[in-house]
Symmetry: C3
Subunit: 272 residues, 3 copies
């Protein structure tokens, strides 16, 4: 009887996972794993470089330094967490999706940790522009809204329609962030004497941040034009490398070479 029961395929399915776990998928796919390890390594290098670059940063510029240093600190935690299996899962897509009924690899931890790292980017950028509390509060709350609703879009498994409703809500929050970056902060940056570097970083940020919803759209979680999770993961990872470490390096390097400009800026958020 016992032997028979164990030989029954339907019961064997109940006793063990149907497929390999998300952790195993990462372990068994070198390209996918490399997209995560590359960011662990680069975030680690960025942390060391930024700590070294910060040794002479004093005055209110120091708040910019701390905010920007948080970016690779969150990032190394985020990518280690994806590698550990804690924040990746296989998600069964709902009816209507291109891969309906199939298990799709989701690195949903990315959306969770962007909730912490992208506000740090905006705080650094807003302080550089010498903006006021209201505009920084607007940018940061809309950004958090963007990330949290993006996380919801990734996790919904019972309604294809509502995955896209959340995609649309997340994009609407994103446009509010873009509005602050393009229509409000440039004037503040001009008044603060930081226009040149702000213009570069603003452009870098807006262009690269548009990449994320595009990758989501074409990737396995969206319309699945690209079905290989390793390629989707590398696309996000490449965006992160430029939008996070390169961005942060350019910002910090300018700040430490222009301490007098930053520290003479009567920003509401500055402190000695």
């Amino acid at each position: 009887m016992i032997e028979h029961a164990l030989a029954d395929p339907a019961l064997v399915q109940l006793a063990q996972p149907l497929q390999e776990s998300a952790y195993d998928i990462v372990q068994n796919d070198t390209l996918l794993a490399s997209s995560l390890w590359a960011n662990v390594a680069l975030a680690g290098l960025a942390i060391l470089a930024f700590i070294y670059m910060g040794r002479d940063i004093t005055g209110r510029a120091r708040l910019i330094w701390v905010a920007v240093l948080l970016v690779p600190l969150v990032s190394i935690s985020s990518y280690s967490s994806l590698l550990s299996g804690l924040t990746v899962d296989t998600i069964v897509m709902p009816e209507g999706h291109a891969l309906a009924g199939q298990e799709v690899f989701s690195s949903w931890g990315r959306y969770l940790t962007w909730t912490l790292s992208t506000p740090a980017i905006l705080v650094g950028l807003g302080l550089l522009a010498g903006t006021d509390f209201t505009k920084l509060f607007t940018a940061v709350t809309m950004d958090i809204g963007m990330c949290v609703t993006g996380l919801a879009a990734a996790l919904i498994v019972e309604s294809h329609l509502l995955r896209w409703v959340f995609y649309a809500i997340s994009c609407a929050f994103f446009l509010a962030v873009v509005y602050v970056l393009l229509a409000e902060w440039p004037a503040d940056a001009a008044a603060a004497g930081t226009s040149e570097i702000f213009g570069t970083l603003k452009l870098l940020t807006v262009v690269l941040w548009f990449g994320y919803p595009i990758v989501w759209f074409v990737g396995v979680e969206g319309v699945a034009l690209v079905e290989d999770p390793a390629i989707v993961s590398w696309a996000y990872s490449a965006l992160d490398i430029f939008a996070k470490y390169v961005f942060a390096f350019l910002l910090l390097n300018w700040v430490r070479n222009n301490l007098d400009v930053v520290n003479s800026n009567p920003s509401l958020l500055g402190s000695s």
Copy 2:
């Protein structure tokens, strides 16, 4: 052998969910679903109206506008999330509960998102009263405590006693919020010249917010005097409509007609 195993009711139960999912419950109950769709629609209208109403709001009143705009933005995300099945579940009630051992529909996502929307309400109200940082910090932290412990009360499935312990803790946090609203902010509002509208909104908020713990108490998660989840859901939804969109409309409408009063207020949190 296989046929016999599949015919065995005990095994069939293992191979499929015991009951319909929380998502299916919403889909199959028009009254319940309408309590969620109504708020999606009204939150959407409120967002459009508030963006329109904000076009002329300048100065430090703009921070009030952003805070209040967050209320329907969080709300539309919250109700879409309930509809998607992501933040609803069926919870098996512990021994001692009126519905012990039964699966009860829980829209626990409400408590989670109130953690974000109710602080926005209090920030708007506190800025209107021209209060200081200490009192606003008190109101917001106690409010977050109220929502997080309310979420815990809803999610506990192994101890009936501790569901009510958390209900009591949540109510204690609520009373701290009520204390700030009734005993501290009226004097600040008088000094700021916003007493009339503050008095109205304070009353509206305190009366409606008392409704939430009452609904919890009588509803399926509490003593289960009301056992229909659709009625409980509509009670919460109706409270949300008045405590969120009507409240926010009254606040914003007064602010845009009294910009000079708000912008001449030397509030600690104001910014140009």
Copy 3:
């Protein structure tokens, strides 16, 4: 047939949990349960005492009082939540761990709620030292990083290596907090005239906070030198008693006896 199926041990395992739940473990282990109840009782007493002690605290000292009052408020919620079974679990340890393959009791809710209570401690301490926004922002963000990555270390079940990677990241965040406490705030406290009490509380905090990673290291989640979850739980609980309630009592008692010193301090964060 049905009788045979139910008598089959393999099937019975499928139909019920393999072992007792984390909630049952707490219920059936008096020593473990007492480590939680002791803190519920002491946090409750601390709340009552602190509310009584705060009746005469005015001016900017009131912000210190609110921050410090949050510590036992979060703590009573945290320990009630552990007792309710909501934030405890049994975790199957990964290959390489001393208890690999075994179910280990984890009170992971501790790490989650420290994310809320330890920033409140640092806000109280930073305000006492009259520090500026930049340094307080640094201490609080590094502290939150410490708690969130500590939570990740506790929850990872698929990679032994990455449990320790997160342990190391969490310790690195901790060292950043220690740096602010030992190298930056003493000078601020000297300028604010609060050196004596700050020195005591700084020492108390640094020494006790080093205890937490040590307990993690030797406990069931680390190298498992100590395998009894009740002893590990009591170690954390004893640390909490001194690092939270005793710390908070000493801080509040000094503040209410030296209101003039605190309220004459031109701290950036103070408010009337």
